[in-house]
């Protein structure tokens, strides 16, 4: 019989199982954040079906998983480019040039926030505090790589790296 979570690969389900094992057996849904990350890594973004699959696997209501997926902006509810650049524009970053950094990226790539370049390479997002205000302005690449002191020079370097 087809299960709702068949769309996730056995490898991804094995990874989710590792996360589930960290919590008491009757609280599987505690692993929802990790499970969504694993699903997103595999699928590129979190579609409605993917979220429903994760929820079904963890035995929780799909809307409860959707609450989590829509709360954090590291979860992508729409397809993103190969490189997702998130620029922090919260106060400490803004004071140290975060807005300028964002403007510079926009100009370089010719896109605004929440847009993707025509070649599907870059998506630009506005982010919230990443907890590294001392390194402001900061940017995040593909949700996992933190880049500090992102002045135009650094940004040029970063964009050149992203191929």
């Amino acid at each position: 019989m087809n299960n709702q979570y068949d769309m996730l690969s056995p490898e991804a389900l094995a990874k989710i199982d590792r996360e589930v094992a960290k919590y008491p057996a009757d609280q599987k849904q505690s692993a929802v954040m990790a499970a969504l990350v694993i699903a997103q890594d595999e699928k590129g973004w979190l579609s409605q079906e993917t979220i429903a699959a994760v929820a079904a696997y963890l035995g929780m209501a799909p809307v409860a998983a959707y609450e989590v997926a829509s709360f954090y902006n590291m979860y992508d509810l729409q397809p993103v480019g190969k490189y997702k650049l998130t620029v922090c524009t919260n106060l400490p970053c803004a004071l140290s040039g975060g807005v300028h950094a964002a403007d510079y990226v926009k100009e370089k790539l010719g896109i605004d926030f929440n847009e993707t370049t025509a070649d599907g390479k870059f998506t630009l997002k506005e982010g919230e505090c990443m907890g590294a205000c001392g390194d402001a302005p900061v940017m995040l690449v593909n949700n996992k790589r933190m880049c500090s002191f992102m002045l135009p020079e650094q940004i040029d370097k970063l964009l050149a790296e992203c191929k």
């Binding site: 409605q48 429903a52 929780m60 209501a61 809307v63 409860a64 959707y66 609450e67």
Partner: protein, 776 residues
Amino acid sequence: MVEIEIDGKTLQVADGSTIIEAAHQLGVYIPHFCYHKKLSIAANCRMCLVQVEKAPKPMPACATPVTNGMKVFTHSELAVKAQKAVMEFLLINHPLDCPICDQGGECQLQDLAVGYGESASKYEEEKRVVPDKNLGPLVSTDMTRCINCTRCIRFTAEIAGFMELGQAFRGEHAEVMPFIGKTVDTELSGNLIDLCPVGALTSKPFRFSARTWELSRRKSVSPHDGLGSNLIVQTKHDRVIRVLPLENEDINECWLTDKERFSYQGLNSAERLTRPMVKQGGAWKEVDWNVALDYASHALRDVAKTHGGGAIGGLLSPHSTLEELYLAQKLLRGLGSENIDCRLRQSDFSADGKRKGTPWLGMKIADVSRLDRVLLVGSFLRKDQPLLAQRLRQSAKRGAQISVLHSADDDLLIKLTARAIASPSQLPAVLAQIVKAVCALKGVTADPALAGLTVSAEAQAIAQSLASGGTSGILLGNFAQQHAQAATLHSLGRQLASALGGGFGFLGEAANSVGGYVAKAVPTGAGLNAAAMIQSPRQAYVVLGAEPELDCADGAKALESLSKAAAVVVLTPFKSQTMLDYAAVLLPVSPFSETSGTFVNTEGRVQSFYAAAKPLGETRPAWKVLRVLGNLLGVTGFDFNSSEEVRTEALGGQPEFVSGLDNAIDSGALNLTASATGFERVADVPIHFADPLVRRAPALQQARDSAAPAARMNASMLAKLGLVEGGSVRVGGAAAVTLAAQLDTALPDGVVRVAAAHSATVALGAMAGVVSVEKA
């Protein structure tokens, strides 16, 4: 107990209470939105901030537990300042659309804004706009009005059992929504409307039709399932346009099922019969009451005179009032007929004459919540008695163990401890195994008839759960009562309960399932029961409030017998083409909203109500019509001047609970032999098709629960027949019908599930029994 002081008044409250509970005990009102006594505490609206002595800042009264010696000030300067500040924030994004809002006049936000809001807002920026959601045909949304109290979310998760709503996104963008593209399909969804403290969730059928202050209201009682939920029926210009729950902690608490809340639409249906009609020379004519009554009484008298009273049969709806049932049976007995029955969907009547009293729930409804071990036998509980399912859902959360023995495994949204799913013919055997296992565990001597049984693992698991302590209850659902061996299930259930020292009862199928027995609307002696009256056709029938083709166990046969009868007198609020085909005279009688009457609910509670609206057209209360018929036919003892007099005669007084309730039965030898070859039919009665009124409520008919019946089978049965889901399948009973095949993994082998009470499946005939199934 701790002693606290609220606004200078001291009181004793239980440990662990919150300030708001203590204040309510004292009659002090603390403004609030997100707090609801039946839901978990969220403390997110902050409206209930109060001052607590020695606390450095205002505390939320709903989430602050009381401590000994605590001093609370609910209206101090600090408290009121905090409450006003919260109100200012709540109103920042709330639209000023009260004039076009359905909640206007009964809105908590509106009321509290009068007390705590400023006359002008300091906020000048853009207000947020939230897209509306489609929650289905019953609940309408205006999500911009939402104040994110999350009551609706907590309701779906905690009371209805499945979180169908959630709060997506974050901060200012947070919005309440169902999962993308889904609707709210719980059978309790209408309660969201009551719970919403603002106008974000309102009633779709009621939308824009009236203001609360234009409505007159009457207390009433639900005419649907056996609980007899208490209602407030609201009318405008003598038309019922809204039904709300009347809180009764012993019955429906503060909830209503969607069926009870929205069935009122059927009262205003175009199919209402408003004038008496008689068939003359094959043509229907609208006539005056006296002509119709003359016609009806002559027809009945003629049949009684030429063929004897026994040639008349009475099929009475168990949704009729006690008074109607009482007068109908009195009339029929006066004509010399003992063929009277209101148990229309029952198929096994072998318990008749062996019962010690009226079958009932065996306990109070409120006591169901106190059971620690429950076995549900043959019950589509969530659809048949949704509010009892709700009670058991809460019980399971506090640790009660609920087990199920059934022929289908629908998700009750209750955490089950054990379950045994077997085909209908196997149910008695499995129940017997459970009895045997419990007797062994309890060291009680089992019925010798059970000696040869082998106890299956499922039965053993259920037995172990039941025997593991606490108060236990064995409850027989509608399916068990409609089962072909209902009497066997009855005696086995009793044996099980007595071995456990626990309760045993029947879940009332209809509003007056108990009342029918009390009103003597059941045959005695040689009288024919509902099935027999249909199997051996009568010359004449009196039908009260029922549509036998949909409301009887064997609708096809019922239709055949009615069509052959010389005279069928129908007392009905509705007319249908089928009725026009078989009836000789149609007498328009009031539905529950237009007559005074009484329902005796499944716990035996007598609940009387008054008419909420004037009878439509020339409709008359059925008790008056029966009274006049009694007079015309010269039956003695028909001099009633009010429905109360009828009630007093029927009940022998004005008791709060009826007497004579007893589930005991002289069982005799048990018959556990099961013989079923081929496919057994499992017939559920879909929630929105169970009675003539709800079948005519358009909004409910669009709900997901009202989907057209399919032939449901498990995967191996589908494979065996070479079927795919959605393919056509021919199901053959009395006649064959073609239905869509549907996968239902929860069904046992050898079973096809086809809903009853639906025009698409009437031709199949008996609800219980064997049918043929083949690929079409």
